[in-house]
């Protein structure tokens, strides 16, 4: 029974943290592009910012053609990277009992950095997420991954408690 509760806790935590990280990554990308346009003398209204962000959220669903000719969208790329990161951490934590919050935070960081690393080797140093082309952008990007990982850990604990509470009542 505990295994089932754990599975659903992990699943829900994974879904929510993937959504959170994806939204933040796309928001960072929007802000980055819009900020640069502002420096170029463009009049950026709140409406333009919101409209651009909504466009980017929709755009995240559009397929990117990877090297094997397989189309995959940004949300899937982020989710796959996070899945591997969290799964590996989960396994490692069975062997080495490291701090849960820190280890999943680190997993989130490494996972999102892995996306950049992977696209760079796939597309010959080309970076598909424009906001990470500069160091500051890359640091914020990794921070999003780290916070997303911590969020995953907290959610996991939260859902476990919720399921346990339901059972006890």
């Amino acid at each position: 029974m505990h295994s089932i509760k754990l599975f659903f806790s992990l699943l829900l935590a994974f879904i929510f943290s993937s959504i959170l990280i994806s939204v933040f990554i796309l928001f960072q990308n929007t802000i980055w592009n819009i900020f640069w346009l502002k420096t170029q003398g463009f009049d950026i209204s709140f409406f333009v910012l919101v409209d651009s962000f909504l466009h980017d959220l929709r755009g995240g669903l559009s397929p990117i053609l990877m090297q094997w000719g397989i189309p995959i969208n940004m949300y899937s790329i982020i989710s796959i990277a996070l899945f591997f990161g969290y799964f590996l951490t989960f396994i490692i934590r069975f062997i080495v009992p490291v701090n849960s919050m820190f280890s999943f935070g680190f997993a989130g960081l490494v996972s999102v950095y892995g996306i950049i690393f992977y696209t760079k080797i796939t597309f010959d140093e080309i970076v598909l997420i424009s906001s990470v082309r500069e160091l500051m952008g890359l640091l914020i990007f990794c921070l999003i991954g780290f916070i997303g990982g911590i969020f995953f850990n907290q959610l996991k604990e939260f859902f476990l408690k919720v399921f346990t509470y339901e059972k006890n009542n």
Binding site: N33, W36, D56, R58, G59, N73, E125, I126, L128, S130
Partner: protein, 373 residues
């Protein structure tokens, strides 16, 4: 009822006939002159009718028309043949018959990063001699993408060079202290012409002709000397521009395309002080080269602009008048391959280069000539 059947039959016969007329309506024939090139990039014509063909992998070859075989030119500078980089354009000097000079563009690896270089040399008995670097772009990058690399001699014998934005450096196309996303103009010896545009920015490089470009792989001039350039858009937004000195063509501040990850690059498509394309393509067709046709063999095509495309694997024939594209016809779709280059030969044929990224040594030279010739 009989009347309806009669009209139906007449209509069927009429449409069948008109279809068969259209199917055989082509005024041209396609002829494969050679197959087996390794990522051919550009072609230029020697005065004796032979072709010079550059291969991205670093080889420059001469196609002997009478022997129907290639000879590899020796002493070609070594290139960084990686991804989109390698030996790119080959251009004869307007006075080639007097000085035997050819110009080549290619990517190189330096300590500062990869960049675009232009060299000139004399072509002497299938060997390059007196090889001289006349330009190295201040556009150093880690990537091997978006070099631009197209060359075009203007009527005043100055040379235009397209220098791409290096992909990861797109914002620098709006800055004038570098060669990312620029069209440059130099003299045939590499010096800077005294009548190049003057920009108000102190740090502006003197060889910049226009700026705000992405990856411009097509440069051509019409019979009146009007300069045209086309450039790859990101996801959508391939552009055809008329090039005038000193102007800003907007990339990446204004664009009709979006980023590869689906996000916007800019929500703006127009801005005062930034030029508009005379035509753009969304979705992208991946424009690769272009040529104006002024030959005698196809009078119907006289003055038309032919643009080759990689992604769509066809050629676009544009009729342009007073800076307006009047019509666009998709042609040579039957080639069914990525079309890397198109040039109009002195004899009036069109010569097409195809490439394949999957199959090595499968690039072709295809001649387009009148069907009844």
């Amino acid at each position: 009822m009989k009347k309806i059947i009669k009209y139906l039959l007449i209509s069927i016969i009429y449409f069948s006939l008109s279809y068969s007329v259209n199917a055989n309506d082509k005024i041209y024939k396609l002829e494969i002159l050679y197959e087996g090139l390794d990522m051919p990039w550009d072609i230029d014509f020697l005065p004796n009718g032979d072709f010079l063909v550059s291969e991205l992998t670093g080889k420059l070859k001469i196609y002997n028309s009478s022997l129907e075989k290639f000879i590899t030119v020796s002493n070609v500078p070594s290139v960084l043949a990686r991804s989109q980089g390698g030996l790119s354009d080959v251009e004869l000097h307007p006075d080639f018959e007097l000085n035997n000079l050819i110009y080549i563009s290619y990517s190189i690896k330096t300590e500062e990063g990869n960049t675009l270089r232009v060299s000139r040399a004399k072509l002497h008995q299938n060997t390059l001699i007196d090889v001289e670097t006349i330009h190295t772009a201040k556009a150093f990058r880690k990537t091997s993408a978006h070099y631009g690399a197209r060359l075009l001699f203007l009527n005043d014998k100055t040379l235009l060079i397209s220098s791409g934005d290096g992909f990861n450096h797109r914002e620098k196309a709006q800055e004038l202290d570098n060669h990312f996303g620029k069209i440059l103009r130099i003299n045939d010896d590499g010096s800077i012409p005294s009548d190049n545009p003057i920009f108000s920015e102190d740090r502006a490089l003197k060889d910049i002709f226009t700026y705000g470009h992405r990856n411009q792989q097509g440069l051509a001039k019409d019979i009146n000397g009007v300069i045209y350039s086309h450039e790859h858009g990101p996801k959508g937004g391939d552009e055809l521009n008329i090039i005038n000195p000193g102007l800003n063509y907007g990339w990446p501040a204004i664009t009709y395309g979006i980023d590869y990850n689906g996000s916007i690059i800019s929500p703006f498509k127009k801005k005062e002080g930034m030029e508009q394309p005379i035509k753009y393509w969304t979705p992208s067709i991946a424009l690769s080269d272009m040529t104006f046709y002024y030959g005698d063999l196809f009078p119907e095509w006289y003055g038309n602009l032919f643009i080759s495309a990689l992604a769509s694997g066809d050629v676009r024939r544009l009729a342009i008048k007073d800076n307006i594209v009047l019509s666009e016809e998709i042609m040579f779709k039957e080639i069914n391959s990525r079309i890397r280059s198109i040039k109009s030969s002195k004899s009036g044929d069109l010569i097409i280069l195809t490439e394949s990224r999957e199959k090595k040594n499968s690039g072709k030279i295809i001649r387009v000539s009148p069907k009844n010739l």
